[in-house]
């Protein structure tokens, strides 16, 4: 049930209209960061206030919402945002990617491919990909205006000079439709190829930095690279220890003080779904039957 003390989806109507206008301009200029008047939300900055505002502006009562934090449905951030919208918008929630119509995500794209009709909302801490190279907003804005992205290539080149390869492993910069360089939010670069030509609408919200940007479906997104150092979507060279998946992004978990470790899918829904189908990994042990 919707909590009657709140407007539908928490925000007031004028705020939602303002966010909706920003989202539409973002859709019209893919990859460009649209400034918006970010509101204070009942959670601290850094907990997804940008994503929450974008989700609030897009939600309809018929939606089925999934929220993930680093791929997991059961972490604090994911649970609290899911409960927030269940309470203020009365929407159904789910942990299953295929059932969700709207997915708010912190730093992952689900392993199951997105479908048309789904909306993926990313929480973004620093939307400006050039910010750590050039701290002045006036300058970075000029660089986007003039398509002056040489500095970003210098950064990737210095990676190669120092480490022999591009060492940037997350928040890997992308170029959208050959025009704007965009920060894909801190998703692992393993997820970068999924951004391109997705059938779903992808929206990015940065609350503290007050920016919204967007990728319409079927938008071409290229990860920046060099001819002799092409982009590689990397992951740990292991299979999942629970579900034996060899093609999913893995988290490394330390399991004792003897150097023991295990690798598990970061996408909990994907991993549980595979185990339900009978896939068993190296360390999988079914939970003991509950006492009668």
């Amino acid at each position: 049930m919707t909590d009657e003390a709140y407007n539908f989806a928490y925000l007031d109507e004028q705020t939602k209209a303002m966010i909706r206008r920003a989202i539409l301009k973002g859709i019209a200029v893919p990859g460009y960061q649209v400034p918006f008047a970010s509101r204070e939300m009942p959670m601290p900055y850094g907990w997804g206030t940008g994503g929450v505002q974008v989700t609030a502006a897009c939600l309809v009562p018929e939606d089925r919402l999934k929220v993930i934090d680093q791929g997991a449905d059961d972490t604090t951030n994911a649970v609290s945002i899911r409960k927030f919208f269940a309470r203020t918008a009365g929407v159904a929630t789910t942990e299953r990617t295929v059932e969700a119509t709207m997915i708010q995500t912190r730093h992952r794209i689900p392993e199951v491919p997105m479908k048309a009709g789904q909306i993926l909302v990313f929480q973004v801490p620093i939307p400006e990909p050039l910010r750590f190279l050039e701290p002045r907003e006036a300058e970075t804005r000029k660089m986007h205006e003039l398509e002056e992205y040489g500095l970003m290539h210098v950064k990737l080149y210095e990676d190669i000079a120092r480490h022999g390869q591009i060492a940037t492993s997350y928040a890997y910069p992308v170029k959208v439709e050959g025009r704007y360089v965009m920060d894909p939010s801190p998703i692992p670069k393993f997820d970068n190829p999924k951004l391109s030509c997705s059938p779903a609408i992808q929206l990015f919200g940065a609350g503290r930095e007050q920016r919204i940007y967007a990728l319409p479906p079927w938008t071409k997104v290229e990860s920046l690279d060099f001819d002799d150092h092409p982009f590689k979507a990397t992951k740990a060279a292991h299979d999942c220890d629970l579900c034996a998946a060899g093609d999913s992004y893995l988290d490394e978990v330390i399991i004792d003080d003897q150097g023991g470790r295990m690798f598990v899918c970061s996408d909990t829904d994907f991993c549980a779904g595979r185990r339900a189908k009978g896939h068993k990994g190296r360390l999988w042990a079914p939970e003991p039957e509950a006492a009668e």
């Binding site: 209209a17 859709i27 000029k142 609408i201 319409p216």
Partner: protein, 189 residues
């Protein structure tokens, strides 16, 4: 007359505007696809769809330009009561409503600034009908190609050439809407 102006708005604004926005979002994100919206009944000759778009996106902070037949006393009263958007000339408009011939010359509208391309106008263009026949549309949001009966192609091709500047367009007819953001490439016919 006053009674007309008071009627025809959303009866349950939070939910109706949310559903309407989802349709507008899908329309703009997939240029050329035709979607249906409901909930508004603006005075004639403004269509239901145009009324819904205004109620969903406009408020007191968005200067609005009414062109041609849409610029009538009944519509001005309706906008004043339901939306409160200041009515302005084309040059200052964030949103503009009218038929294509009334909105011309479209070079009057804001196309944004090189450093802030989002500061551009959104045109709500009233048509008699929307069909998926006409010039081919390609670009972001379109897998292969979509087709839409545009009033003309030259203006939209010129608009695309300004990218990332340019105006964005929402076509309306009856209760149907279709989007044409500036990023869409329009086939020359």
């Amino acid at each position: 007359m006053i009674a007309d102006a008071l009627a025809g708005g959303f009866t349950e604004a939070p939910v109706q505007s949310a559903r309407a926005f989802r349709e507008v979002l899908e329309a703009m994100a997939r240029p050329g696809t035709i979607r249906r919206v409901v909930g508004a009944l603006p005075p004639a000759p403004v269509s239901v769809a145009a009324g819904v778009v205004l109620l969903t996106l406009c408020d007191g902070t968005t200067p609005l330009y009414l062109a041609g037949a849409a610029d009538c006393a009944a519509m001005r009263d309706w906008v004043a009561f339901h939306i409160g958007a200041p009515l302005v000339t084309a040059e200052y408009a964030a949103f503009a409503l009218g038929r294509w011939e009334d909105l011309n010359p479209i070079t009057r509208f804001r196309v944004g600034q090189p450093d802030y391309p989002d500061r551009s106008a959104t045109l709500i263009v009233e048509q008699d009908k929307l069909t998926n026949q006409g010039p081919a549309l390609t670009g972001p949001g379109i897998e292969t190609a979509n087709w839409l009966n545009l009033p003309e192609t030259a203006a939209f091709r010129a608009n695309r050439a300004l990218f990332p500047l340019g105006f964005d367009t929402i076509f309306t007819a009856g209760d149907q809407i279709a989007g044409l953001p500036r990023s869409t490439r329009v086939e020359a016919i």
